[in-house]
């Protein structure tokens, strides 16, 4: 199949970007990123600058890949990362617009590559349990209700790709932050530090320049791991408790 790609090209964060059009010959068995590989091989061989895009595991778990394809982060399929999207969902002659995740919290590095270190800083602000190696008691010493453990796992499945921010009309990072808060808050081991963790993580999230959540739920719809906005409600509750009720 022959496709026309409209790809955002931007040399670096201080240079304005623009769209450029490319033709690429793909086939339906390729993954979306393999289609971009083909384009890049062509570009390199013809002496042009290849399109920079981030990727690593190519099996939907590392969270490195992520571009906006025709207006949707990670493309049209639900519960799928960009690397898991295959070309059989496109038709011969299609024009596909590919843009980076756009948010002030994710400055563009080059083309489709953005800097998501703001997510690291949010985790560093409190997305952990303060336990040193060797301090742990026996793993079975604290029973955890299966439902809680499962809900915690649902939240912990977040791959930190940033699609929630990219999808949100306000570029809010609430789903990401709430997923980590929920993962830890739902476990007795993590509950101990809830109030401090929530306060610090929200503070950092606000500092990073993300927008405010207005409950459009675009994040949940585009999240490749289908993480629920229930987590955002939980974050809100914990934040009220932390801000208004803690000593």
């Amino acid at each position: 199949m022959k496709l026309t790609l409209k790809i955002w090209r931007q040399k670096n964060n201080s240079t304005p970007g623009k769209f450029e059009s490319y033709q690429v010959q793909a086939n339906e068995h390729m993954s979306f990123l393999e289609m971009l590989d083909v384009l890049n091989q062509d570009l390199i061989e013809s002496g042009k600058d290849p399109v920079a895009f981030e990727h690593d595991c190519r099996e939907g778990i590392c969270g490195a890949c992520g571009v906006v394809i025709d207006g949707q982060p990670h493309g049209l399929l639900k519960g799928t990362t960009t690397c898991q999207l295959h070309m059989r969902f496109f038709k011969d002659g299609d024009t596909v617009t590919i843009e980076p995740f756009r948010a002030q919290g994710f400055p563009v590095i080059k083309d489709l590559v953005v800097d998501r270190s703001s997510f690291d800083r949010i985790i560093q602000a409190g997305g952990f349990i303060s336990v040193n190696t060797g301090q742990a008691q026996d793993g079975n010493a604290i029973p955890v209700e299966k439902e809680d453990s499962d809900a915690s796992m649902d939240a912990a499945a977040c791959i930190g790709c940033g699609a929630c921010v990219a999808a949100c009309p306000n570029a809010s990072a609430m789903l990401f932050t709430s997923a980590k808060v929920s993962h830890l808050a739902l476990l007795p081991q993590g509950e101990v530090e809830n109030e401090k963790r929530v306060a610090n993580m929200v503070k950092q999230m606000d500092l990073e320049g993300f927008g405010n959540c207005s409950n459009t739920y675009a994040c949940e719809a585009e999240c490749p791991k289908e993480i629920s906005v229930e987590n955002i409600a939980r974050l809100n509750r914990l934040y009220f408790k932390s801000s208004l009720a803690s000593e």
Binding site: S117, N132, A136, P143
Partner: protein
């Protein structure tokens, strides 16, 4: 130059070695720890856990990853689980049994003392991870759940759905993040190690390239810890991530570290087959699928043809025309033979021409029987008498979905085929490399002050790794071994002042690095890095893949040398050095893979026996099983790189005092 390989395994009874050694180990006092600097390269399970723990202990740690975040390391992709000798299931597990299974699974090519230590600390890992908030699967009573995995008879695998690696890595990443926040660890994302700096025989720093700016930077420390993963990507197509590379280890090899057993590669039997020559990577389907899936190819060539050209649907081929070759060849273990055996059997079937996809490199993994079996028992449970076929299928699919739903979904996403209705197609793929930097009991390489952890060392899995043991090893090394053993080196360094990056060794390493990059980018040839990498992969897979022979290996060596020469005269790397340039990053890595490939071939040629992941066609039993030659090859082959001649072999004999060497049999 002669290198003496001293494994430094402590004296004493096997089960007491680690405890006694740990108790008598020299320590570094807290006031000194504050001054001592440690470089950690890599942030996977081993690197992140080591950096976090060393930071907690009070050392000044600098940690490096080429990724944009420590959380992207490829440990994240491990699916199945992590072993630990907890014996929570009361099924007779013990530290000794885990030790024994690992030694046996490794085909008696690993060091007893290291493996026993691994089994000992395995239980601490689970406790640590639970405390960190890893959401392991639980029973309704709230206690930890276990499942069983290939090659063992107990249930000792802890898991978090099909994302155990992810959850363990996030645990380590969070511990690391906590240390970054406290200032104990300085994190350098998007920084790739390009050289090791050795001063007076000791590893004292690294040269890194800032991948955002392309600038070379110098970092000094009292010692260097490598945790940079395996080298499966030498085959181009593997289940490794695209960025996984050997360069950090290989740069150490070029500075004198030895590479041990590089030919030991694990080929995983259940991966999604290659669909075309544009393919960039292979996707693993968890080993657990073989619990219920039956592997087969058609008996008749005419049926093979019909399936390939699409005129026959595999599900329509009658039972008697199918060859369930694993069940036929290994009646005792059937579809659950270890990974190496299953992989070779699939290759044998395809070599006979029975491969079922267009390229002839795929076999079926069929769940129809399982669906029917589960469907019937479900019907019975629900009190449905005389259920019809459709009801059975529906109920059975429900059970299979509950067990493997996410894997089936992943398969369908990639292939577009519905594995509930038609058998999956699978083929073996490179998955893990048991070989790696040679290390002693302290995890220190032969270069003083240079340590290697996790997949990038060779130490614990011998010639074949058991399922769910990679996560265990990475975390054991990082959380519970290196924090102690690093003291054996650092306790002698407490009078050493901070190392200066102005030392001439730094300048020359940086200059060499710059020269190498300049050379690469100035070749301006015709072929892309990717094209060379594919060629490299094809040679390695063809001659040094699932089965090897002397003739092929010799041929491969020549081919690799030619390819390397061609690379350095015809590669085309776009862009500049001093900028964000992913193609240059790749070019640097592929150059190292090429040299490593040669060493792998040399090792495979030298090892005239078949063991674990290394199968030499000349050394097999009459019925095609691996033939180990314990008298001659019970040693670790540690290779020294030489720019001008072949690599130089150093041997560390393996001494087995506690287990008897036996031939593995799964018949």
């Amino acid at each position: 130059m002669s290198i003496k390989l001293d494994s430094k395994v402590p004296e004493g009874e096997l089960s007491q070695k680690w405890m006694n050694y740990r108790s008598k180990m020299p320590l570094v006092a807290p006031n000194n720890k504050r001054r001592i600097e440690i470089i950690v390269v890599g942030t996977g399970l081993a690197g992140a856990s080591a950096a976090a723990t060393l930071g907690e202990l009070g050392y000044k740690v600098k940690c490096f990853t080429f990724h944009d975040s420590p959380r992207r390391a490829h440990s994240i992709a491990a699916q199945g689980g992590i072993n630990a000798a907890k014996n929570y299931q009361n099924d007779g597990d013990s530290v000794y049994r885990l030790f024994y299974d690992t030694i046996k699974g490794g085909d008696y090519r690993s060091r007893e003392a290291n493996v026993h230590r691994l089994a000992e600390v395995s239980t601490d890992i689970i406790d640590q991870c639970v405390a960190q908030g890893v959401p392991f699967a639980r029973e309704y009573g709230g206690l930890l759940a276990n499942r069983s995995f290939g090659g063992v008879q107990v249930s000792r695998t802890f898991y978090a759905r099909g994302q155990t690696g992810q959850q363990l890595l996030l645990g380590a990443y969070q511990a690391l993040s906590r240390q970054i926040a406290s200032g104990a660890v300085q994190m350098y994302n998007r920084h790739e190690m390009h050289d090791l700096v050795v001063i007076d025989g000791k590893a004292r720093g690294i040269i890194v390239r800032n991948l955002l700016t392309g600038k070379l930077e110098r970092f000094a420390a009292h010692c260097v810890v490598l945790a940079s993963g395996g080298y499966g990507n030498v085959y181009y197509l593997s289940t490794n991530a695209m960025g996984s590379n050997v360069s950090a280890s290989w740069r150490a090899v070029k500075r004198g570290a030895l590479m041990a057993n590089p030919c030991y590669t694990q080929i995983h039997p259940t991966c999604i087959p290659v669909s075309g020559d544009y393919q960039s990577k292979l996707t693993l389907m968890s080993e657990s699928l073989r619990n219920d899936g039956r592997v087969w190819v058609p008996k008749e060539m005419s049926d093979v043809e019909a399936i390939r050209n699409g005129s026959l649907r595999p599900e329509d081929l009658p039972e008697e025309k199918r060859d369930y070759y694993l069940e036929r060849r290994y009646p005792a273990f059937g579809n659950l033979v270890p990974r190496d055996v299953a992989s070779r059997a699939a290759k044998a079937a395809c070599d006979e021409g029975k491969g079922v996809n267009k390229s002839g490199l795929a076999v079926f993994l069929d769940f129809a029987d399982a669906i029917e079996r589960y469907g019937k028992s479900e019907a019975l449970k629900n009190g449905i008498k005389n259920p019809d076929k459709a009801t059975i299928t529906k109920l059975g699919e429900g059970v299979v979905e509950a067990k493997y739903g996410n894997l089936f979904e992943m398969y369908e996403k990639i292939t577009g085929e519905n594995p509930y209705k038609t058998p999956m197609m699978i083929y073996p793929a490179v998955h893990y490399t048991m070989g790696g930097l040679w290390v002693d009991y302290n995890l220190e390489t032969n270069v003083s002050g240079l340590f290697a952890l996790g997949e990038c060392n060779f130490s614990d899995h011998g010639a074949n790794r058991l399922g769910a043991s990679a996560l265990m090893q990475g975390l054991a090394d990082g959380y519970f071994v290196i924090p102690y053993t690093i003291g054996t080196f650092l306790s002698k360094e407490i009078r050493t002042p901070a190392i200066s990056t102005d030392h001439p060794a730094f300048a020359s390493a940086e200059n060499e690095t710059r020269a190498r990059l300049e050379k690469l980018i100035n070749i301006k040839g015709k072929q892309t890095v990717e094209a060379f990498h594919r060629k490299l992969g094809l040679i390695m897979w063809e001659y040094c893949g699932m089965s090897r022979n002397a003739e092929g290996l010799k041929k491969a060596k020549k081919l690799l040398q030619d390819l390397r020469a061609e690379y350095w005269s015809d590669v085309l790397v776009p862009g500049e050095i001093d900028e964000f340039n992913p193609e240059l990053d790749k070019a640097f890595r592929v150059a190292d893979f090429m040299e490593l490939g040669e060493m792998m071939v040399e090792d495979a040629l030298n090892r005239e026996e078949s063991c674990g992941g290394h199968f030499r066609e000349e050394y097999q039993t009459e019925d095609g099983e691996a033939l180990r030659r314990d008298d001659e090859f019970t040693y670790v082959a540690a290779w020294e790189w030489n720019d001008n001649t072949d690599s130089i072999l150093h041997k560390e004999p393996l001494v087995f005092e506690n287990v008897e060497l036996k031939t593995r049999s799964y018949k």
